[in-house]
């Protein structure tokens, strides 16, 4: 069994490769839920949805999230009724949030709901939220603490970051199956996701960091930073704001406690030595997932780095 720690778009694309190499039923995704938020009274789990829609073949590949060819009729009416509309939810996408919210109100856990959605969508890999408890990533800005999605989507990360807080993380428990999956995995792959607000959030759930440290399977991470910048999103800005080096070396430092191999892009080949100086073996490859072939090749390289061959 292979565990993949996952954020949003980068992770979903990486999983499109992994699912071509590893039998689907042997894959367990542990997904960040720190971006979860209420919009219009509905519980939205952005990273879980990106992963699900991608694995179900429903995703809007161009934007990386949402449902392909979705319409926005409900959103337009919500705007007409005076709602803010910076977080756009498509009509098909809304069904997921309405479904999830209804079941949460009925007392079901996010894990159970996610498992039900997975089955309805015919998705092979299991998808575990990192926690069934609320952990909300907030960004400290000069204007105060704001939810990550407000920073990310509303302000398009053009706001000075003074800190990051995972509200609720101290008392959150890993969702059922998370710790066992990490313990039993032949390999734990850390997707090329934001090390602060995607993977960092998962690591902030008490018990997960330690389980990775003690895991018998190899832990292999893919750097989301290539040439000092992420393919998408604010990873570099957040790292710099937190006085980290915004390179593959900085990402390695985030994971060094439990990391067995670091995979970096060929454009960053000159950083391999610095990664290895941290005591972490480094694999240099093409990490740009421009098409399915590239995704599959990356997955194969990462699995090989974990000592597995398919």
């Amino acid at each position: 069994m292979i565990v993949v720690l996952a954020g949003g778009v980068g992770a979903a694309r990486f999983l499109q490769g992994v699912t071509q190499v590893v039998p689907q039923e042997e894959i367990v995704v542990i997904a960040n839920t720190g971006d979860d938020s209420q919009f219009y009274g509905l519980h939205v789990s952005p990273d879980i949805d990106i992963v699900m829609y991608t694995l179900a073949g429903l995703v809007d590949e161009k934007q990386g999230w949402g449902v392909r060819n979705d319409t926005y009729h409900t959103m337009q009416r919500l705007s007409a009724l005076g709602h803010e509309n910076w977080f756009q939810l498509g009509d098909q996408d809304l069904a997921t949030h309405i479904h999830r919210t209804q079941l949460l109100h009925q007392g079901e856990t996010l894990s159970a709901i996610t498992e039900g959605l997975r089955q309805h969508m015919g998705i092979g890999p299991r998808i575990l939220p990192m926690s069934d408890d609320s952990v909300e990533t907030h960004i400290q800005t000069p204007a105060g603490l704001i939810h990550f999605e407000e920073y990310f989507v509303k302000h398009r990360f053009n706001v000075e970051v003074q800190g990051v807080e995972f509200v609720g993380s101290k008392t959150a428990r890993p969702a059922p199956g998370v710790i066992d999956a990490i313990k039993q995995a032949e390999a734990i792959l850390i997707a090329p996701s934001n090390p602060i607000v995607s993977i960092g959030t998962i690591l902030a759930v008490p018990g997960i960091h330690d389980a990775l440290h003690e895991a018998s399977g190899m832990v292999v991470a893919v750097s989301p930073l290539v040439g000092g910048a992420p393919i998408k999103g604010p990873a570099d800005r957040l790292m710099r704001a937190l006085h980290m080096e915004a390179t593959a070396v900085g990402v390695t430092r985030c994971y060094r406690d439990f990391l067995d191999v670091m995979v970096i892009d060929q454009q960053d080949a000159h950083l391999a030595e610095q990664v290895e100086d941290l005591g972490i073996p480094c694999v240099v490859t093409d990490t740009i997932m421009r098409d399915q072939q590239a995704k599959t090749a990356l997955a194969r390289t990462v699995l090989e780095a974990a000592g597995l061959r398919y």
Copy 2:
């Protein structure tokens, strides 16, 4: 000020006439909320919405409810996720329910939410829910008690009716403004709505029946039954099930405690004498609201019957 007691489609069409005759700001609609229900965890107020969409010019005139040219993308996905789909909610329509549900969860009252929706939709007449408390119309069937919408929409009223219950009505209070509006009205018009499950539900809210009885304005009702059958819906079936005569005479009996004038259709002219035998003056006219002209003419006749001239 003119008060209109309103159910769904028949009332909305009647209001399309009243609003052509009476200045909009002088109209207060008291709407049945006994059909309100949760669908997919969202609070739906069918009669309020029919009235609002109609007065806002958004309604699907052909079906009488919902938003014109609406799409059903969210519904299709909800079905794919395993939900029952006998209560179809369009994508634009959903915005109303999402908005209402969010504000109800935040502690706002149905009255306040309805007033906000009215303003956003640019609707002239005030619309008051009969109550901010939950009153749910249930139908007693051989298979047990079912919600009115299940009887009406899911079973298309092809179920034996043994009784009608207004669950919650005993402790419900009239919404703010309801009793005052009835007391202050120059006339109270009872729309051609179902006398059992639309108007009957309103009358079941403690205080409303007595306020009508004591009202200084004339109370004028329009029979929803023409030739012994309603234009739409199960009024005749419900009346027969409750051992009432399913004619304009039977409708008159429902309201005779407080009714000043009964308006019946010309097809039922032969019933006028029986209505008057109940002590209620009867006006015979064309009540079939086939077009705007007919709606306006009916409204004018009803207002004249109430002693008002515009």
